[in-house]
């Protein structure tokens, strides 16, 4: 009421006082994160000591590294008793590590181009924000890559591709009538085309022909990447089919799938590679000889498919029963309900698992070195380490191999985590 109020009223807040030095900035962080208790302090010092001794041991080795030498002896001469790496081997044998020792050096551009295009083909599959039209290139890519890497006439790839197109066209024409009939007709049509196409290819095999590179000339990291990519791509559909078969209520089909999955998962990959190496040939008609790479691919696909089947089965089991019942109640048949209701959801859940299994597959491709194929590890253990020039340069070579695999596998697993978060937001 009265205008002259003498009592003091503060109009503005007092600004916050700065916290004590021990409670702010770097000091606070160090106190909380490194020295919060006596035990923690000890752990911090142990870790620091560990890092220090690692750096002291490794730094001169890296810094003194020789990048330019012809042989390991020249390396040692240059080092002159100092501790140091002989990275020169990576320099000198780089093509061997990447392409193997038989791939013609004039043709290195082909695998290079194929691997760049691989990234382009993978992009629309990995990132759903990219335009869907790019998927067309992904569909063409396998045939293109085959032509690029193995060479020969482009007609082989074109004919194989056309066969697939014919199969898909037939399927979509007849799929409205019956799934089984559509599959049967498309299979027949494709095979008929492939037989006809085979003759056409044989007639003129010089159109756009690249230099033939037989499978046994493939090697190095290219072989790892090739085996890993193909096995993963082929095993995903097979794995989904096996998972569906295992869930099926038809006992015979179910038991075939269960037997297959459990058998493959029960044995180490190396025994399957033995099968590919020494046994599988016995099961083909007499007189035919199948590439070792092809045989290994068959076994690796089976191996990966069994693991993917288990991941997908987990995804199928994670769906609530209501989804299956809802699909039934709106009158969808088995194929439709799987295609439109169940699989989209189940696969979404199992994508991270599938990616993990596939990274494992890529890592496991190194096992082919044990059946004396010259992949990255096989090249190192075989031609490079046993050569008199580079005898005894273990660290640099295995370190480089480990680094290559680390970069790829780590980025794929980071991608998988990113994808998991993306899908998480979708479900909300």
């Amino acid at each position: 009421m009265s205008g002259d109020n003498n009592s003091f009223v503060r109009k503005e807040m007092i600004s916050e006082r700065i916290p004590p030095t021990t409670e702010r900035g770097l000091v606070k962080w160090v106190r909380e994160n490194l020295f919060s208790s006596a035990f923690n302090a000890i752990m911090t010092f142990v870790s620091l000591w560990f890092i220090y001794s690692l750096v002291v041991a490794a730094a001169p080795w890296f810094l003194n590294g020789i990048w330019d030498a012809e042989t390991v002896r020249e390396c040692y001469d240059l080092l002159d008793g100092k501790s140091g790496a002989c990275f020169a081997v990576l320099n000198e044998r780089f093509p061997q590590l990447i392409y193997g020792f038989k791939y013609p050096s004039s043709e290195y551009w082909r695998p290079n181009l194929a691997s760049v295009l691989l990234l382009v083909a993978l992009a629309p599959i990995l990132f759903r924000k990219l335009p869907r039209r790019l998927l067309a290139f992904s569909a063409v890519y396998p045939f293109l890559a085959f032509w690029l890497i193995w060479g020969g006439s482009i007609l082989t790839s074109v004919s194989a591709f056309l066969g697939c197109v014919i199969a898909i066209v037939c399927y979509s024409r007849f799929s409205s009538r019956s799934f089984a009939i559509a599959v049967l007709i498309s299979l027949i049509a494709a095979n008929v085309w492939w037989i006809i196409g085979g003759y056409i290819v044989d007639l003129n095999d010089s159109i756009l022909a690249l230099k033939d590179v037989p499978s046994r000339d493939l090697g190095g990291f290219m072989l790892n990447l090739l085996l890993g990519t193909i096995a993963v791509c082929l095993s995903i559909p097979l794995g989904i089919a096996l998972a569906l078969g295992r869930q099926s209520d038809m006992p015979i089909i179910k038991w075939i799938c269960v037997f297959f999955i459990e058998f493959i998962r029960g044995v180490p990959l190396i025994t399957l590679l033995f099968v590919a190496n020494v046994i599988l040939a016995f099961f083909f008609p007499p007189g035919t000889s199948l590439d070792l790479i092809l045989r290994v691919l068959i076994m690796m696909t089976f191996f990966n498919a069994a693991y993917i089947a288990e991941v997908v089965r987990g995804g199928l089991a994670a769906l609530s029963k209501g989804q299956y019942e809802a699909a039934d109640s709106i009158g969808l048949d088995y194929t439709q309900s799987m295609r439109f209701i169940i699989l989209p959801q189940a696969l979404k859940i199992s994508i991270p698992g599938i990616v993990n299994v596939s990274v494992g597959m890529l890592k496991d491709t190194t096992l082919v070195s044990i059946i004396s194929m010259f992949d990255l590890v096989g090249m190192i253990r075989g031609p490079i380490l046993s050569s008199t020039d580079w005898n005894g340069v273990y660290w640099e070579l295995f370190g480089a191999a480990a680094a290559i695999f680390f970069v790829i596998c780590f980025s794929v697993s980071k991608y998988s985590q990113w994808l998991e978060r993306q899908l998480e937001t979708d479900r909300r």
């Binding site: 209520d249 029960g266 016995f282 295995f398």
Partner: protein, 404 residues
């Protein structure tokens, strides 16, 4: 009219085999079986023709023939005159040995790293993250080869232990870590050692019986017995008493440097050691992630609720957190144990003679019996895998959440 009448009314037609849900599954199964049998018959025919063409047959008689090769790392008596079967058994035991050791060490590495990754010490947590990522993302074969060459390069050769001022010394005069492998004391069992061992086993059983009794007592009468020190006492005292009463029946044979090499004691070859270490540190990285996930999966409210009930911290850990975390941890842990067993087949890369190296390696190459040898090899791994997954299923059922 009910459904059975309806079913009787429409007559059976052939189109129903494909269009009627009741018959369609039989059609599919029939075709699946038919195709499977055809494929089997085709493959079998090819196999027989190929075998006939190569002049081979399927026979396991090679298992009874003398093997003619030596195995340096073995748990049972074996020489080059022993049969291929015995070589395979040596291999089986070697596989089981490295798998068993690997499981223990991998659990140790994994649990340590998993717990430390959750530490509130920033630098330790980051170090453990680096360990996990580096080991998970590089093929195990490369790790085995790298660690093998680390052992060869950094451990001293036996000759370094010689002389007045040796470059290397034995640990407590009992353990020698050399580039050729580890030498550790070997127990010698004299007369009466059997009694000591039996006493030891009985006291282990005694500990479990006592704990069971204590739990029953707790549930029925509400009395909490002291278990920790009593268990320790039951575990050690009878065995030690018997051991001294019988006059030291079990003695140790120490490795000694004789000439250029160590003699006596147990010699674990470098290949075994590096394979063991590589497998366990590689799998440990995976186990660390599982352990971390398991501990994080237990809701914080659980420990707060237990605290609100007035439980002491170690009771909270033992009775509330661990049982729930283990439910998440154990199933993947067992499948990692299985992975160690399967990955131990990579012993081939470092020359450790496990089953893959004996039966699938030298025996196969010497006899040329590829089909038989690989089949036996797969059978062995299958038996192990299936029995472990059977155990796992039993365990899973026993810890499954009891819901509705």
């Amino acid at each position: 009219m009910n459904t059975s009448e309806l079913a009787r009314r429409d007559k059976f037609q052939f189109s129903m085999l494909l269009n009627d849900k009741r018959y369609r599954s039989y059609t599919f199964q029939f075709f699946a079986l038919f195709i499977l049998i055809c494929a089997m018959a085709y493959l079998g025919k090819n196999l027989l023709e190929n075998l006939a063409a190569a002049g081979l047959n399927i026979s396991y008689s090679f298992l009874g023939e003398p093997s003619g090769y030596d195995i340096n790392q073995r748990l049972i008596e074996y020489n080059s005159q022993s049969t291929h079967l015995r070589a395979s058994i040596v291999g089986v035991l070697n596989t089981l040995l490295v798998a068993f050791l690997g499981c223990i060490a991998a659990t140790f590495f994994g649990v340590t790293a998993g717990i430390l990754r959750l530490s509130n010490n920033w630098i330790v947590a980051k170090l453990m993250m680096i360990y996990v990522e580096i080991f998970r993302n590089v093929p195990v074969l490369i790790w085995i080869l790298i660690i093998h060459s680390v052992f060869l390069a950094f451990l001293p050769q036996p000759k370094a232990f010689r002389g007045e001022n040796p470059e290397a010394t034995m640990l407590w005069d009992a353990f020698a870590f050399t580039g050729r492998g580890f030498y550790i004391p070997k127990p010698i069992f004299n007369d009466g050692s059997l009694i000591v061992i039996i006493t030891f086993i009985l006291s282990i059983i005694g500990v479990f019986a006592f704990r069971y009794y204590a739990r029953q007592k707790l549930y029925s009468e509400g009395k909490l017995l002291e278990t920790r020190w009593t268990s320790v006492a039951i575990f050690f005292i009878p065995t030690i008493l018997i051991y001294f009463a019988l006059g030291n029946p079990i003695t140790l044979e120490y490795p000694e440097l004789k000439g250029f090499n160590f003699k006596g004691g147990i010699h674990a070859r470098g290949s075994l050691i590096s394979l063991w270490f590589a497998l366990s540190i590689y799998t440990g990285a995976f186990i660390a992630e599982v352990v971390r996930a398991g501990i994080q999966s237990v809701d914080k409210g659980q420990s707060e609720a237990a605290g609100a009930l007035g439980m002491r911290p170690n009771f909270i850990m033992n009775l509330v957190i661990l049982p729930q975390a283990l439910r998440v941890i154990v199933p993947p842990l067992i499948s990692f144990y299985l992975n160690i067993t399967k990955n131990s087949s990579l012993a081939l890369a470092v020359g450790y003679m496990d089953i893959t190296g004996t039966l699938g390696g030298i025996t196969l190459n010497q006899t040329g019996r590829a089909i038989e040898a690989v089949l036996l090899l797969m059978l062995f791994y299958l038996v192990i895998s299936l029995s472990i997954s059977a155990i796992m299923n039993v365990y899973n059922r026993s810890i499954m959440l009891k819901e509705r």
